[in-house]
Symmetry: C2
Subunit: 250 residues, 2 copies
């Protein structure tokens, strides 16, 4: 069943109104009719099943049939921070990471990031990534659309570290040195609704200086297994491991 | 350090000989010199660090310096069986799945597979996927290159089920019904060197009939968390969860 995200919190009301893009998608793309049902997701994570009761030239009206019961969101909020990688890798970190339950994505210029994006380019990129996250959230039946934050300075990321309950740095050297206890330890320490930030380097990896700076601000280094993961694969490993740990009693 | 795979088991010998493609890559692509060191991986999972001792017009000679100590392979052998998906999705299931430790990949024509490949096309495809697996195995420091098997009939997959210690079917309906205990149960039952086959459907998913057929042959259904994963994302979830469980004390 199709899923749509309202940009407002849920309020119990007799009718819900779909206009603009949502109207267009329901009526012209999906060719929906009165009587058809869809999921409506709201900013406060409430999702309802709603039935189309009237379709006019500009507006489509829906009425609530039931509330979605199953919890679709990870019990902890995971933010993925990626040093800007090459090509379209950030696009698919966002697409796959949204499927896998990420709460937020941050991009930042790491020392070994090759791409250099100015404010204008970053704004455009953020728009595109937000659309990708929205589509992936609909497809994967999320209750929340992850937010996108593209930073133009690394220091802006460092300043944010204190906002999280825990900060992990996925560090290749830790993996090479056989570090394998930290991820499970951190997951075991985190409780419902706490916020975890995980920082990943670009293709070239994070420099020792960068790692030191993050550590000084309280970040903990962890390995993600003995194999060397590409910059776009590591965040998916982290999110899948979190889902296994928190959602599948792993 | 660069990694090369020999198509033979390791034997203690005074010198190792690199010719043909391996020679070309070392000498012309990497511009390696006498004294440079590389990893050499053998079919029996032994990996050594070797130093280049002589380079001639056709052949490059290496001598063993040390053995690689760290275990890079998952303790259980996981085979990923994917119903043929659209486009290049199989390519990147193989690339990412190799990074994440898969032992073997099987492709099969599922009922809802759109693509139809004849024997000739399958042979070509298998060649290409083998190359992708080889490159990903080098990049991710694997000790084994995963094998590729592209089947032209589903029945050939069904016949193989008995060859595995356990068979899982990643079934969207199980996830929707909130099944969340089976994956951890199966991981807990498996012991070192046992073989696990996990079957994934194409975009359209597996049909109830297909699922029944696999179940009759002893397969167990499992969900991979509450979110709906794309056909190319689900195998990566499975492999990352396995790594977290078996390699990171998760």
């Amino acid at each position: 069943m199709q899923r749509y995200f309202f940009n407002e919190p849920y309020q119990n009301q007799s009718c819900f109104e779909a206009t603009a893009e949502m109207y267009h998608h329901m009526v012209h793309v999906m060719r929906m009719q009165v009587g058809d049902e869809v999921y409506l997701a709201f900013t406060n994570q409430q999702v309802i099943i709603a039935e189309i009761v009237e379709i006019t030239a500009q507006t489509l009206w829906l009425k609530e049939v039931a509330k979605e019961s199953q919890q679709k969101e990870l019990p902890i909020e995971i933010t993925i921070a990626s040093g800007y990688p090459k090509g379209d890798k950030l696009e698919w970190i966002v697409q796959k990471g949204t499927e896998l339950g990420a709460h937020q994505f941050i991009g930042f210029p790491a020392s070994s990031s090759v791409v250099k994006w100015d404010a204008k380019k970053l704004a455009k990129k953020a728009q595109r990534l937000t659309k990708i996250a929205q589509e992936a959230a609909e497809q994967s039946h999320r209750q929340v659309v992850p937010t996108i934050q593209l930073l133009d300075q690394k220091v802006s990321l460092e300043r944010q570290l204190a906002d999280y309950d825990m900060v992990l740095v996925a560090y290749e050297e830790s993996a090479k040195q056989g570090e394998k206890a930290m991820l499970a330890q951190v997951f075991n320490q985190l409780t419902t609704n706490q916020r975890l930030l995980v920082i990943f380097g670009p293709e070239g990896g994070l420099t020792p200086q960068e790692v030191d700076q993050f550590e000084e601000k309280g970040a903990v280094l962890c390995g993600l297994g003995p194999r060397i993961l590409r910059t776009e694969t590591a965040p998916l490993y982290l999110l899948a491991a979190a889902s296994y740990h928190f959602e599948l009693n792993g």
